[in-house]
Subunit: 355 residues, 4 copies
């Protein structure tokens, strides 16, 4: 018989070797804020996921995340013939490993109802078992009493909205009115919902991106198709649980997945400017000015709609230096739209490059 | 709420997309036998593993295996505060998916005792709950009554044999005498035990290779360090459950892991000859004869101890063609030792190349 | 000073270690024919390429090709301030290494004119210097006198045909009339020209695919974007220079690049059937028949337009086994179009799967 | 005929797409100095290399280098039957592309003699043709007159020193006495020579690392075996040609290849300290203090010989965060040897971690 006293020790020890190397996610802090990389939507064998809760902590460690929430379904536990329903189990199993691995573990649960209101994550709760009540409004109230941040999940999920378009129903409006809805997923797993940008803007809600992973992160998000899992970037005053929570309620987030950033223009613009630096010209001739733009982040940027003799488009690949030969007829600054930084349902970020 | 009626359907459907592509493992059949790729040692959340049983079927499908056994510990179930002990659960959950994915699922359980006798897998059983008895000899008898093939696991595991050397204790001899021991692991997870070659030869037991995986196969066996998980190659008269069982009891196996093959010389030699073909010389000059050797298998072969003007060593990389310029003074056939094909505790396969 | 007697020895020795491992290209032979993998369009520093000729032989060896032609431009030698024009230099430098590495080196040259007639490769010539004459018809005649196979290169190249559409000019018709044109490139570098299918069919010419590489093959064709360089597959009676030449003049070719095969239906259909095997059903229930299709080739196949209860589309990934659950209401054989096997300007291969 | 006026334009344009993305090499600047990444030893078809000179500029651009020297052999030009000897050709062909791509191109040549003195690179010269004289001392003098930095190449190369051990001959001592030798290669291609550390220390010479590449960088240095080519890191007051030259003569270098850094202790220590940051403890219990060490560089560090209850060894992988649980009995700072930072023939860097 293996000599380990408890499964926590056993699997934690095992995980240490599998997950030993913690990646640095190259995303800049913003002035005054630290950028926390978070995934607030994850499942385990305690609802319909296929992994033990500690796997989620190990994955977050390896992927360089700062915070995660395990959010098993409250109302959907298909393995219950083999595993008794226990809404706090994943939290209890994971919290010590998360503490030891410097991951902020946010306790959560997924309220799992037909549309409307669909699925809602209750985050920052303290006892998920108190949320196992019948009426969905009662569940939300029970969560709010525990100080929860409520996030509307995958509002355009085709299993619930066959046309793929999120709809704001009466119950959502009511939740917002009461101050019981705080964020909406723009990215979920490998989907996104443009209309969420409008919902968030109109109601001052946080734009979120989460994996909603049921399986194994490294198998679901593999290169070359995927270079990263979905992450909610949270701009917090410091790297603490309280500061994380404050920032979320204040809506200081960007949604990040693949090569796309989405969120409020003020954060998106500052974020872009912190990623990019434009070097001084290193050579000039009668026709052109040669310079380099450095992108030190993991996010590539696709600049389009250049005008007035400027290059019509510029790609700034992630973690790379891009060389430009700009016509002397082009005037500084150069104005561009950033095709992959989304600031509204039909809007992208507008930036300028000064040299 | 997700609309699926049962977790079996749900996760099976999910797995289909994750595991959709089934690899061809390039290992030749032997004359008269089909080569079955098998892993007879796997864990799940029903003992101390970190995945749901269906994950094991999906992984086997993707990896191109023909047969697996899920062998959760009978006596070690550290998650029992959350998951009630049920020795047949993994089998019951997995059997339909295995059938649909053309994986032969062998029912199994790991008898988990201090050394001696250490850990023993009971394979081809029909009801694991009947094995939950106190005396280890009684467990073995109960397994034998169900027709079990008994495999001694990781006999040199340092947690049980601190010097790493397998030892044949009285109880092992007694099991062999009674005909209650049929195979021994030469490879387990990422370890191997040379002495197992002698034990198997002296007692006419099958040489086995298994992953003993507790976590996620694709994370535990990753390129470039690993190109494949450990596999027991079984030479069966046909690809059926009964033929698989017959071949195992007859000891028609080779152990395969990384770039090493281990087992009885008769199978190793035939296997090598089926992997390799020596082409006719395509050019000759006064000094040399030029020819190509094709290795159509996933196993590289390292030929050493060449004599009499032959190249002293030849590497035949997997799935590749190797070009040779052989001195006219060398005589055909060329004799070599195959460094990575192990036929005894201190023996490797001897082969000849005819051209 | 390095001790090597000649650059041929020096670089050949060097290349041996860089290019030591020769890949097996998994493409089946056809009944009665061996499938030769060829690239008949390559450049070196002796025209406007950036590598020494031996590099082309080393690359071909590593990539598992059977034959190549180095076809430097006759009329375009921009490095001549540093390298004197010598149309036979690449051939002379490479022929011994090719012989030693079992590559059939076809002597060639690219006739490099404005459109019409554009660029034409003369293959199987014996002295390229005799082709340095003024009139393009004289060049072709000189090539034909040496027994050349003449291939029209990249007929839709936008530098010569700004709309990208190949056009059959008078001079091409004249060449065909005289029997002086034998093949046309369908794939060139990373382009393709659908209309070539019609030109080849109407005039009974060979469909060709070549890299036209000027730089380094491994940098121009890199995973994940590219899994292989363009290749002309030639179905020859044996693997000899003469049989290669005979097969080309007979038009027994398919063009292969990325995941596309293009050419005459008779070769395409036989090729597909040699790649694929449909297994016997391994399980049936009241609704479905379960079976596996094995694709042992490097080419994936995308089956579309399934009808009558059959799966509407089936992907058969390269070197993989695909599992199907077919409705009992579907009748064998299942009929499909193979989206990526092109048999005409607007035609794809039609196949049937029997089970 | 292709429409380009000159090969320079043609290949420069072509290279732009092949080499379009310029990597950021993650190596920190030192206080007061910018860290220039350089390769001062490269060959082309103008001696015994297999690529055109522009390839060297494109590779340097892609690899994120700041400076290179093309150093074709003066006395060894085996392709001269096809390419007339021209010692300035590579320089003339490359200089404009280097300027446009922001690569500092250092003109160079390799004096290629039997040992002693073996091979010596003359760097920062202005006319290589003046170095084609008979006596090696005359060559060195001619180089010195042009302001050359002279680097002794691969002093332990087995073709010249069969035992692999560099030897300081009379001629080397004489060169040093005259001030005509300024650096020695510690790393060359894939070799290294420990004794070079002593030679450099005793004579105040720069420690160098160069690829000496004759072929294609991306094929010679491929993952997973190689993550980078050899580079001389030069600590210059600014990123200019003059500052680069000043820093080299001042001996402000480190040699870098694979996972090894070698050079003077003062630069090695500062370099290490700029790579590493030790975080504040994020958790403590009665036994341990938990903290993270961030390594933002491309160089992993292997700390060994920990004492007094500290972890005996710590690996700090490149671009990663390493989590430590340190016993409360260990005292800050922790003292370690850095196994892969070489500061002498038998010395490695000693560092301390404060927390």
């Amino acid at each position: 018989m293996k000599k380990c006293a408890s499964i926590l020790l056993l699997i934690a020890a095992f995980s240490f070797s599998v997950y030993g190397q913690r990646k640095i996610v190259n995303l800049p802090d913003l002035p005054g804020y630290v950028t926390l990389k978070c995934d607030f939507h994850l499942h385990t064998v305690f609802s319909d996921g296929s992994v033990w809760p500690l796997v989620r902590v190990g994955e977050a460690y390896r992927d360089g995340l700062d915070a995660i929430a395990i959010t098993d379904h409250l109302e959907y536990t298909p393995g219950k013939a083999f595993i008794p329903v226990n809404h706090n189990a994943a939290w209890e199993i994971s919290k010590n490993m998360a503490r030891d691995y410097n991951i902020m573990l946010v306790q959560g649960a997924e309220i799992t109802r037909d549309m409307p209101p669909g699925h809602i994550n209750a985050l920052f709760i303290r006892d998920a078992s108190l949320l196992a009540v019948d009426s969905v409004m009662d569940v939300c109230e029970a969560a709010i009493k525990q100080g929860a941040f409520l996030q509307w999940n995958h509002p355009g999920w085709k299993s619930q909205e066959p046309d793929g378009i999120p709809k704001m129903y009466e119950i959502h409006k009511k939740l917002i009115e009461k101050g019981w809805l705080h964020g909406i997923e723009f990215f979920n797993h490998n989907e996104y919902y443009p209309l969420v940008m409008t919902f968030c803007k109109q109601n001052n809600l946080a734009v979120m991106a989460n994996s909603d992973d049921h399986h194994v992160i490294s198998e679901d998000y593999k290169e070359p198709e995927y270079t990263n899992r979905p992450m909610t970037l949270v701009f917090a005053k410091e790297r603490t649980y309280d500061a994380l929570r404050e920032a979320l309620f204040a809506g200081r987030t960007l949604a990040y997945f693949r090569d796309v950033i989405a969120g409020r223009e003020e954060y998106a613009k500052t974020f872009f400017n912190e990623c990019i630096s434009v070097g001084k010209p290193y050579y000039q001739n009668e026709r052109s000015i040669f310079l380099e733009i450095v992108n030190r982040s993991d996010v590539p940027f696709y600049l389009i709609n250049g005008v007035h003799e400027a290059p019509p488009s510029i790609n700034l690949p992630a973690n790379s230096i891009t060389r430009l030969a700009i016509s002397r007829k082009a005037a500084s600054p150069l104005n561009y739209d950033v095709k992959n930084v989304i600031t509204g349902e039909n809007e992208v970020l507008k930036i300028e490059l000064k040299y």
